[in-house]
Symmetry: C2
Subunit: 741 residues, 2 copies
């Protein structure tokens, strides 16, 4: 289709940073060393809930090479915060003090010399336990929440949301069948390879702070720190370095304040690189959720009503992603009601993780869809086909569904997986699930500069977490009619680029790509205007093809972009473009996955044989990059479905500690676990994204766990409603089924 007219966009080109990444040239925060730099180390409480009785820093301070020590009282917050406890520790691993020394080994030794006396308190590390009367209360002085009926909620509920559309009670009455199921998801880590790290420097003369770090959003991080330190924006510069993965986990303030305060105290740069254990225990995680669904359906499979209740573990200091809208799935349900409870527990703060809240919500929604289909004797594809929203439908009572490729994605997933033709084989099964995702747009801005030889630069403050710099280069090259290798994409820091929102929400190629394209179009317009004068042609008759500006009407009329760029310097100065936007229309995306599994009846082990992954991407600027996103997401979804989980040892003796804060004991899927993945890119271009794109990074992580659960039921007839689907759970379910059957 349109791809045929494009030269750079739509091509599967290698990432612009590929060379730097594979040769180790990319600069991560751990690589940076500044003159006179100190090294920080955290002193952390091993227990999940404890009162700090006394902190004795004296032995640490006497150690030669130690330059500063701080406790939570030195932070500008002056009260307990996730970064550091002042009075009460609220999760195991929470820092209570920190040291800065000339050398990382001295800092480590000094941290060991800090003596902290604790009074260990009873803790609660499970959100359902936390709701029970008599459970330890995480925030005894917190404001009590009420539900939508005005009834007081249990004291550990620290946030509540409610969504209603239609009339669920009437809907249930109109239903032929009612299904009620409870699904449980676990706490998992975002799984980025590079742990959090920071270098802070504070200028004593001006007070200006510079922070080098690994972040998905220089500006949002700066905003949070400005509030905490009460600074003007001009007084804090955040410099985002290469990022070794974020997946939502590098979106919030973690230990930056520790580095900043130590830098302020010492007047020297201070570096802190978290160990894996520190990172897993003291940053953020995707929190456990318990989702109850009550769904009413007609005999023919039409969904009529759904009530959902999501209990989300917010950890001590975080907020659960409660997807009260998305829990209703990509379906037309005339009557919807849902409530979300954010429950505080004595665990690590809940935070964003790739498609926050959606893998949980859709694990529930899509598992129940198969339960319903099974009961009604319907095909799993057919029931989805019947209920899927159409263009023009009002979704969640608000958004009018734009033109989309959702149905095509569903059909492609079924088609490419051989759904209709599948044969029954012992212990093997197939399962399908959908992953809808609205995608963010948010504040975006970018510059495009035409250089003096007709090459170009793109500059913005948006960190590349997923290959978006490559898309920017393609968009700019396409718009200016030059080669991709002649485009340089640079990340500017917060002092040198306009505000942009973070690299999250699958928003970057969609919204940032839009401003890049607009800025490049401004440059193109200026180029063609100047060329038109020189060539005696109309600007609208000119095109730029591989660096040559030529007339479409008179082929002989042409000039090199290179020459024009040089001349432009002397005829008004460099040509540049700049564009900003606040938001774009929402363009919801859908990933549909079919999992094919084989279950080992002896061990309960589930082998994923194949994942067929069809996704409505609007338009793929770089199909190779899109496939990479789809494959990576599916593998993450598989890890979520089968392997990953934060395991807490419960009970006062153990202090409710996290048992597996390492990538040895916490098992992420590796390339050895990678199933065959078939990615099917479905293109139904949007009207609003550059070249028709919509966000692609998050949708394909959403359906995988449900698809696998559905496939397991197809294979061995057991329905697992709790993640991860470990072999123990499968084995037990099979044993129970055998016993009951």
């Amino acid at each position: 289709m349109r791809r045929q007219n494009l030269r750079v966009v739509g091509k599967p080109l290698p990432r612009v940073d590929a060379g730097d990444k594979v040769t180790g040239k990319s600069v991560f925060v751990a690589d940076v060393s500044l003159p006179g730099m100190l090294h920080a180390k955290l002193v952390r409480c091993p227990d999940s809930h404890a009162r700090i009785v006394r902190i004795d820093l004296s032995r640490a301070e006497k150690l030669p090479g130690v330059k500063a020590t701080i406790t939570g009282k030195d932070l500008p917050t002056r009260r307990d915060c996730s970064t550091m406890a002042v009075e009460v520790v609220r999760y195991a691993g929470q820092p209570v003090a920190a040291v800065a020394a000339d050398d990382p080994r001295i800092a480590e030794e000094a941290a060991r010399l800090v003596r902290v006396e604790y009074e260990v308190l009873p803790a609660v590390v499970d959100p359902m336990e936390a709701l029970k009367p008599g459970a330890p209360v995480v925030w005894p002085d917190g404001k009590r929440q009420k539900d939508h009926r005005g009834e007081l909620l249990p004291p550990n509920v620290t946030g509540y949301s409610h969504f209603v559309h239609g009339d669920v009670e009437r809907g249930f009455k109109e239903s032929d069948f009612i299904f009620e199921d409870t699904f449980v998801t676990q706490t998992v880590h975002q799984g980025y390879l590079e742990t959090h790290g920071y270098i802070a420097e504070a200028d004593r003369a001006t007070g200006k702070i510079t922070l080098w770090t690994s972040t998905q959003s220089q500006f949002n991080l700066r905003g949070a720190l400005l509030g905490m330190f009460r600074l003007a924006a001009s007084r804090l510069r955040v410099v985002g370095l290469s990022i070794g993965g974020g997946f939502g986990g590098k979106s919030e303030v973690t230990m930056e304040p520790v580095c900043i305060v130590l830098a302020q105290k010492t007047g020297r740069p201070v570096k802190l690189i978290l160990t894996r254990e520190e990172d897993m225990t003291a940053c953020t995680a995707r929190g456990k959720q318990v989702i109850e669904l009550k769904t009413g359906v007609k005999k023919d499979g039409r969904l009529v009503a759904r009530r959902a209740r999501i209990v989300g573990d917010g950890g001590a200091y975080g907020y659960a992603s409660l997807m009260t809208v998305l829990v209703h799935g990509p379906y037309r349900i005339p009557n919807q009601e849902s409530e979300g409870l954010n429950v505080a527990t004595h665990t690590v703060a809940a935070g964003a993780h790739r498609a926050p809240g959606a893998p949980q919500a859709l694990f529930a929604c899509e598992s129940q869809m198969d339960i319903i289909a099974g009961k009604l004797g319907m095909d799993a594809v057919e029931i989805r086909r019947k209920n899927l929203v159409n263009e023009g439908d009002f979704v969640a009572g608000a958004l009018k569904m734009p033109r989309n490729g959702w149905r095509k994605a569903l059909e492609e997933a079924a088609d490419k997986s051989g759904w209709a033709q599948r044969k029954r084989r012992r212990n093997r099964g197939m399962g399908i699930a959908c992953g809808p995702w609205d995608g963010a747009t948010n504040i975006s801005s970018a510059y495009v500069i035409l250089d003096s030889d007709g090459t170009a630069s793109v500059i913005s403050g948006a960190v590349d977490v997923s290959g978006t710099d490559t898309s920017f280069a393609q968009i700019t090259a396409e718009t200016l009619g030059i080669r991709m290798e002649d485009v340089t994409v640079s990340l500017g820091d917060t002092d040198s680029t306009p505000y942009v929102d973070g690299s999250w929400g699958s928003r970057v190629t969609y919204a940032m790509g839009t401003v890049v394209k607009r800025a490049a179009e401004q440059v193109r317009k200026q180029v063609l205007g100047l060329a038109a004068k020189q060539l005696g042609e109309k600007a609208e008759d000119l095109e730029i093809v591989e660096g040559t500006i030529k007339s479409r009407k008179r082929p002989g009329k042409k000039m090199q972009l290179r020459e024009l760029a040089q001349q432009a310097l002397w005829e008004g100065g460099p040509l540049t473009g700049q564009a900003s936007l606040s938001s774009l229309p929402s363009q919801p995306a859908l990933a549909v996955q079919v999992a094919e599994v084989e279950v080992d009846r002896e061990t309960g082990a589930v082998a994923v044989l194949k994942l067929t992954n069809a996704q409505d991407v609007g338009y793929a600027i770089n199909p190779m990059s899109v496939e990479g996103q789809m494959e990576g997401a599916a593998l993450t979804g598989m890890g979520y479905g089968l392997m990953e989980e934060y395991v807490y040892e419960e009970g006062p003796a153990a202090g409710w500690r996290l048992l597996n804060p390492s990538f040895l004991d916490y098992r992420l899927p590796t390339s050895l676990d990678m199933p065959e993945i078939e990615s099917v890119i479905v293109e139904e271009p949007t009207d609003t994204g550059p070249f028709g794109v919509k966000g692609v990074g998050e949708p394909p992580v959403i359906p995988t766990a449900a698809a696998i659960a559905n496939a397991i039921e197809d294979a061995v007839g057991v329905r697992i409603k709790e993640l991860p689907i470990t072999r123990e759970r499968v084995l037990r379910a099979m044993q129970d089924a055998e016993r009951d059957g």
Copy 2:
């Protein structure tokens, strides 16, 4: 005057980088260390002219820790260039090879182990000697130059320029007196404190080169290197760091190619910091000039005609700054003719130095003005007053003189120095001289960004060599109605900012200040547009005062810029401005200085007691900064007049070597040599500069040497026509005068 209406501009505010500079936080290239970085060392020829017979690198290469060696043949030029000789060495100290090693000491040792066999050739280190028949020829295969009459010039003349206006022969006929004098100036160093240094890194996968260095122009340096290495602009990133002085000396390619080639060979970053000796012998210098003036005047002192001939030492690889126009001074001379000869010698390349060519030309012009005044019995101020160009005069046959403060500067210098009231005191004297300077404008571009809390950022690719970042902050703060401390000024590298010409030619505040102001005005316009809607006022009735947007008509109508900036993010995205320009009208400046000296008749030593320094600056954005420029320049001018000189030991035995390549033997004036300086800022605002500015950095270095020479004659009656005016020269002149008298 207008100053009263301004809040930030026009105020003597401390430099924005003052804190960083005095606390040592500014990052210079020597401060930068990259992982895996190698250290380079040059192997240099001690002789001024030699043929390379053989270079034996084997012993150096065997030294453990040595990672690469190169000779001139490895440079992309493939023939002798100033950076490195391939076959023939043409100045003492020219590199012939280089090594890169793990450690600077290993590199130094390895450089010593390189054995080079030379055939020493006869050299010529003085441009007048180089013109003589039979002189050694620097470029035997070079194209022979012809003069304007078509006559062949001596073989060492490698460049020729000719300027004519009116008819000098007729002018001489109309003159009452003819004066013929020859003036000689010496070779001096620019005197920057930070020697040249570079770190180059070459990405082996992409070929992309990054160069961190101390440069006055990231883009011009990049341009020169792109040509040499045949690269697209997107393949070379130049990162200008803090600069420890430039004064024209950091405008050209010096040893960058050595670092780049070593980085390409090793795949590792390579650092090279020149020693003072290397810097003085192998970079650039202000070359010696011999200036012959023949001037015809009327009895009443009116200048009628001048013929000038400037012989400039270009060194082996450089080009002398031949000021064939400016040698006629700031005067109406109806008939002018001049020629300039660039002469190659076996010395360091001539290059730019603060007001290139002008201190030489004006030393001649302004010395002769006093000779003429003396002969005619006229007052030195009076003869200048009589001949000074007026507004509307055509200068140099082309430029129509705009409105200016030249006469005022002349009168102020006379007035403030007490010229008219001066009394004769033994061995004391006063001298006056003028320093006219056109000032450059050139390609400029800048961004201004309004941040989310109403603070602002300025970004450009223009290196701050003289406090210009402070002016940018003032201009932006004034335009946006915010405090200067709420403006951040950032230097972007060549990948992230549009092209700008170098920080030279006194152009930055004038031309760059213009684009900064225009960009800030764009932001202001958007701000007032949004505010007008919110306040229900007309944009033109609004003003921004100290962060508050308010109506001039209805004082109650107001809002905070901070709030508006935040809202703007959600109503279209960040507000930014960008401006570019190619050139602005020339706004010639004039510095007039009066030197008061005392001469020691025993030793010939000249003590400068006071320098009165009046300068037409258009408008002083920051009077403190302007005074700093004026004082610094006057001291540089005094060093040029009295102290500094490259001394060559001539003759084949010595190899014509430079005898004083260190700041011990080459005496720069220090703060101990500082005379009393009275700076008089004359403001006659221009129509074209921001707030009326014109360039200020270069003019005040121009007249000092002549003013001192004139004062010496006033004091002890001897006319010294050769710089520097050493005590030996003064003593000998006094002895000659006594003997002759």
